[in-house]
């Protein structure tokens, strides 16, 4: 994984650099016009936010119930941090688009609300980790596990309100001229995600190694 990082980083940079041209070449959407272009950033970051949340939840469960493997803990922590980053991109680009498309910055729609709650949960995970002191791995793993069980409840409880957000089922029906730049962006963001994930997990491993070496030296 470590060897692949520079290569992946190159690919991600090249793809991200090329993506504005791809997006520019896509036809403008009929009703929304230029503002619809933000979709090519919004949807990939929302997808990776979901991937990061799922990785965090499952790794937490594996850590907690599968014998406290350090690798699972590191994966959960890294994923929680990346969920904050990609969630932030989603939550900034979403209202910018919504302001133009719906006329309001924010609605308490099911997708918006559950994204916000999940984003806050990744903050809980990281804050606990940062300020909880010794033993906070177990605690934050509990947050990851409970957070995963929470998703259907948040979704269900907010779904009672009428929903404005376009359904993701529109994605396969997109014309190829719009689909191509979209999947290009998704791939570019995914490469970036993989690079960040590998680098951050490695940094965390080195940090624990140094901590352990220091503890050994103290004895």
């Amino acid at each position: 994984m470590r060897r692949a990082v520079p290569g992946l980083l190159l690919v991600a940079t090249a793809m991200l650099a090329a993506s504005p041209f791809m997006i520019d070449a896509a036809p403008p959407e009929v009703t929304m016009g230029l503002v619809q272009k933000i979709f090519y950033v919004h949807l990939p970051s929302a997808m990776l936010f979901m991937v990061a949340s799922v990785v965090c939840g499952t790794s937490s469960a594996i850590y907690l119930l599968g014998g406290r493997r350090l690798g699972a803990d590191r994966a959960a922590f890294t994923a929680a941090e990346l969920a904050i980053v990609f969630g932030l991109i989603t939550l900034v680009t979403g209202p910018l688009w919504g302001r133009k498309a719906w006329g309001v910055w924010w609605v308490w729609d099911v997708r918006l609300t559950s994204t916000l709650v999940m984003w806050l949960l990744s903050w809980s995970y990281v804050l606990l980790r940062r300020f909880g002191g010794a033993g906070s791995e177990t605690l934050s793993a509990g947050v990851g596990l409970f957070g995963m069980a929470l998703v259907p409840f948040v979704y269900w409880s907010v779904n009672v309100w009428r929903t404005l957000h376009p359904k993701t089922s529109v994605v396969p029906t997109l014309p190829a001229s719009m689909g191509k730049p979209l999947w290009w962006s998704v791939a570019a963001f995914a490469c970036l995600f993989a690079v960040l994930f590998a680098t951050r997990a490695r940094l965390e491993r080195l940090r624990t190694d140094v901590d352990m070496a220091l503890a050994d030296a103290d004895e």
């Binding site: 907690l64 709650v117 806050l120 300020f131 909880g132 509990g142 409970f146 409840f153 409880s157």
Partner: protein, 228 residues
């Protein structure tokens, strides 16, 4: 199973006995709840004494969440000050029993707070408490159980953490979002005249399923989570 429940009851009885002798938690939590309701009354009730629609149920649940968090922190703070949680965890009872015992005690305490808080909301905000009393009590009971089942587990885990006072709300509030939504919406249906009570029953069903999932999850993970 019987022995787990029996040990849980012994732990809860111990907590309640300590509380009955000092009455520290009941008095402080109640006082906090009453003053919080007053602050809400000053912020929301209009000059001509009318209450904005939906305010009563919102105020009730916000006050419950905040005073519940304070009660949870204090319950475990008591164990920490005397370093008795370790003794409890070392005693020959299973982890789920420790968790259940603590949960019983917290639930009884919160029920006592609610017994004062709910009539007070009716008094200050003209909420029609007697429109569907059974449904209102069930909503409150199911909501409190959902809140406390998650809260007890995380408060117990946070006992030894640094800055636990702020970290408990940081963890607990996002996790109890569905409880708050369902509780507020359901109670609001009861408090709104001429509304369909079936909607409140739907919210009660949602709260009960939340309780079932999170209580079993907490019992299941109390072993690995409440380890030293």
């Amino acid at each position: 199973m019987i022995s787990v429940l029996h040990s849980a009851w012994l732990i809860a009885a111990k907590d309640l006995r300590v509380e009955a002798r000092s009455r520290e938690l009941v008095y402080t939590t109640l006082f906090f709840a009453v003053t919080a309701v007053l602050i809400f009354a000053f912020s929301f009730v209009q000059e001509d004494s009318t209450v904005p629609p939906g305010a009563a149920s919102g105020i009730l649940w916000v006050t419950l969440t905040f005073s519940g968090t304070i009660a949870l922190t204090r319950t475990f703070e008591r164990e920490r000050e005397h370093d008795t949680l370790r003794g409890l965890l070392l005693s020959p009872v299973e982890r789920p029993a420790v968790y259940l015992g603590k949960l019983f005690a917290v639930l009884l305490l919160l029920a006592g707070v609610e017994a004062v808080l709910v009539p007070l909301t009716g008094l200050f905000f003209q909420a029609p408490l007697l429109r569907a009393p059974g449904l209102l009590v069930s909503l409150l009971a199911a909501g409190t159980l959902g809140f406390a089942s998650v809260g007890t587990l995380f408060a117990a885990m946070l006992v030894r953490a640094r800055s636990r006072d702020v970290l408990l709300p940081v963890v607990l509030f996002p996790l109890v979002v569905p409880v708050i939504i369902a509780g507020v919406r359901g109670t609001n249906v009861i408090f709104t005249p001429d509304s369909e009570l079936a909607v409140a029953r739907m919210w009660l069903a949602m709260l009960l399923s939340f309780d079932a999932v999170f209580l079993s999850l907490a019992l299941w993970t109390s072993g690995p989570l409440l380890s030293e």
